[in-house]
């Protein structure tokens, strides 16, 4: 459906580098990256607001790289929504329909349909200045959707929405996608990507550094940057050692881990989720379990309980529930043992790439 071929664009102090991506009909593609990664610039190049220096954009097999913005059949909802402040909600939604020179009856019916779909029928006579962030978001979506775009581009659609309203916007976007609307959604929020995407592309410094389904990307991050985005905090650069058909590794700080069966390169970066690290006073039982002695450095409240930082040569982060904390009553400076299963350790990328993001 949408395909870009090696798109390059140099802007003042930033450039998009050889961006090639494919979005299939009905996909919900989320472009994830920090601010300044080039996500918005990429959207503007795709929809034609900014011409690329190099590369091509195809929509339904047609090369639209040089096509006029108005004729591409792409809808874009800007981060700041860009509602027309001097028009009512109804006139905002009507604006593109007037340009399409549709008969009045058809225009009115389309506005009504879009308003009902977005649940804004009671707002039609209001001016944008009198709307909340969530209402504005729905009006901006309605205004774009009445044009029946082949593909809908959303630039940080949750940015101006209160946390309490984000769920309803998410539900609405999922419904749109289920009804067949292909969506490319730009965000910096990992949670948004996980909850909405059928495919994810992670952008960094003007390049897409990893792409795939959310499970592929977040369970098997290709590099430290993506792993951090996926919420990993425990990183260990290690050298792998094989002896008598079993694998182990030694971190740069000389901590030794047992590893699960498999094949490993000579060195690489290992990660482990904080939820898979257990902190206790007596250690965990089991032949293969890694038990490492250390001292609690810090205990910080987290949304689900507490995050404990343990210094054991390397630094380990472990999550513990409120209940677990009430039972164990860990304190800073206490001697503890961090335990984790070898299977919980994951190799980042192919292990050989030492490029840091």
């Amino acid at each position: 459906m949408l395909r870009t071929e090696q798109l390059c664009k140099r802007l003042d102090s930033f450039c998009l580098r050889e961006i090639s991506l494919e979005v299939a009909q009905g996909d919900y593609y989320v472009l994830l990256g920090r601010s300044g990664a080039g996500k918005t610039q990429l959207l503007e190049v795709i929809c034609g607001l900014t011409p690329p220096d190099k590369g091509r954009v195809f929509l339904d097999g047609e090369d639209i790289t040089r096509k006029k913005v108005q004729d591409r059949g792409i809808g874009l909802v800007f981060q700041d929504l860009a509602l027309f402040p001097h028009y009512s909600v109804k006139d905002n939604i009507m604006y593109p329909l007037k340009l399409m020179k549709l008969p009045l009856r058809e225009r009115v019916s389309r506005v009504q349909r879009a308003a009902e779909e977005m649940n804004i029928t009671d707002l039609l006579l209001r001016k944008p200045a009198n709307l909340s962030g969530g209402e504005k978001q729905r009006v901006a979506l309605a205004r774009t959707l009445v044009t029946e775009p082949k593909i809908l581009l959303l630039d940080e659609p949750m940015a101006s929405v209160d946390a309490s309203l984000k769920d309803s916007i998410r539900r609405m976007l999922r419904r749109l996608n289920r009804n067949g609307q292909t969506i490319v959604h730009v965000t910096h929020d990992f949670g948004e990507a996980v909850s909405l995407a059928s495919r994810v592309g992670v952008m960094h410094n003007g390049s897409i550094i990893q792409e795939g389904t959310p499970a592929e990307v977040f369970n098997h991050p290709a590099n430290r940057f993506v792993a951090r985005y996926a919420g990993f905090k425990n990183f260990f650069r290690v050298t792998f050692v094989k002896s008598y058909n079993s694998w182990s590794c030694v971190t740069d700080n000389r901590t030794k881990f047992r590893l699960a069966k498999g094949e490993y390169p000579s060195s690489g970066l290992l990660i482990i989720a904080a939820g898979e690290v257990l902190v206790s006073r007596q250690g965990a039982a089991g032949v293969q379990i890694n038990n490492i002695h250390g001292v609690i450095d810090d205990v910080v409240p987290s949304p689900t309980g507490y995050e404990i930082t343990v210094s054991a040569g390397d630094i380990f982060y472990a999550d513990i529930t409120h209940r677990g904390m009430e039972e164990q009553k860990f304190v800073i400076g206490e001697q503890v043992i961090v335990s984790f299963r070898p299977e919980s350790l994951r190799l980042v990328g192919n292990g050989e790439d030492k490029k840091e993001y």
Binding site: I74, F78, D80, A82, F84, P85, P96, A129, N130
Partner: protein, 269 residues
């Protein structure tokens, strides 16, 4: 707190002195003229004709030159191009020129030996000593007020709304008339008022282009030269009052519009 109070007093006194400097001569002029003199002057057909003539020409000049000035303001706000600073300097030039020098420059351009004047004469139109010349003199010195105000207005329009309109299928001209201009309207109107006000009060450039037909500032000067201060004063008062009425009227219209916008902004907050 005491220091703060002293600061307020000093500033209040300094501000009052400046306001007094503006008000005192005008008040003196009103106090030194009797109602009878003012009434007689107001009934004088020459004075009446002159005042209406001044307003009509200033208004016409503002409207006509706005046709080009508003697009120029939009270009200055939205486009990047080489020597943009030089163009901005050219726009501001009439503000810093002595107005009589502006009049001399215009005379060379509009007289029958000049570039535009010569071409106009071939078409049977004279640009000196008539309304067309006066309008051009007024516009020459007052255009920067409209262009700069409108430019600031267009610059304040969120570019994203223009891009959104483009994404929704609008042509550039449609975007200008339906998105950019309506949002910049209050600045354009404000510039319009300033250009109109500045144009109708112009003397230096106009008197060199056309002593006759007499616009109000030239008439006041003529009365002063011919009959002295006491004859010029009532004519001045009449013109000031009429100009004030128009100025305040336009300002009120613009302010009401601004307050509507502000109410909408407040509602968002």
């Amino acid at each position: 707190m005491k220091g703060h109070s002293l600061f307020n007093w000093i500033f209040a006194i300094l501000a009052s002195l400046v306001l007094l400097f503006i008000i005192a001569p005008l008040a003196g002029m009103f106090l030194d003229s009797s109602m009878g003199e003012i009434r007689n002057t107001a009934a004088d057909p020459v004075v009446r004709r002159s005042v209406w003539y001044t307003l009509a020409i200033a208004f016409t000049a503002t409207i006509l030159f706005a046709v080009g000035a508003v697009p120029l303001a939009w270009i200055m706000a939205r486009r990047k191009f080489p020597l943009k600073n030089v163009v901005q300097g050219i726009i501001d030039l009439p503000v810093v020129l002595p107005h009589t020098a502006a009049g001399i420059a215009l005379l060379g351009f509009l007289s029958r030996d000049g570039l535009l004047g010569g071409a106009a004469q071939k078409a049977g139109v004279l640009l000196v000593n008539n309304g067309a010349g006066i309008a051009m003199a007024m516009a020459f010195v007052s255009l920067p007020f409209l262009i700069n105000a409108a430019r600031d207005g267009f610059a304040a329009v969120p570019e994203r709304t223009e891009k959104a309109a483009l994404m929704l299928g609008a042509s550039p001209s449609r975007i200008f008339f339906t998105i950019s201009l309506p949002q910049a309207w209050r600045s354009v109107v404000s510039g319009f008022i300033m250009m109109f006000a500045r144009g109708m009060s112009e003397f230096g450039a106009v008197v060199i282009i056309a002593y006759h037909p007499m616009i109000a500032p030239v008439l006041i000067y003529d009365r002063f030269n011919t009959y002295g201060l006491s004859a010029a004063r009532p004519a001045s008062i009449i013109f000031i009052l009429v100009a004030l009425v128009f100025f305040v009227l336009f300002r009120v219209l613009a302010t009401e519009r601004r307050q509507i916008f502000r109410r909408e902004d407040d509602a968002t907050d």
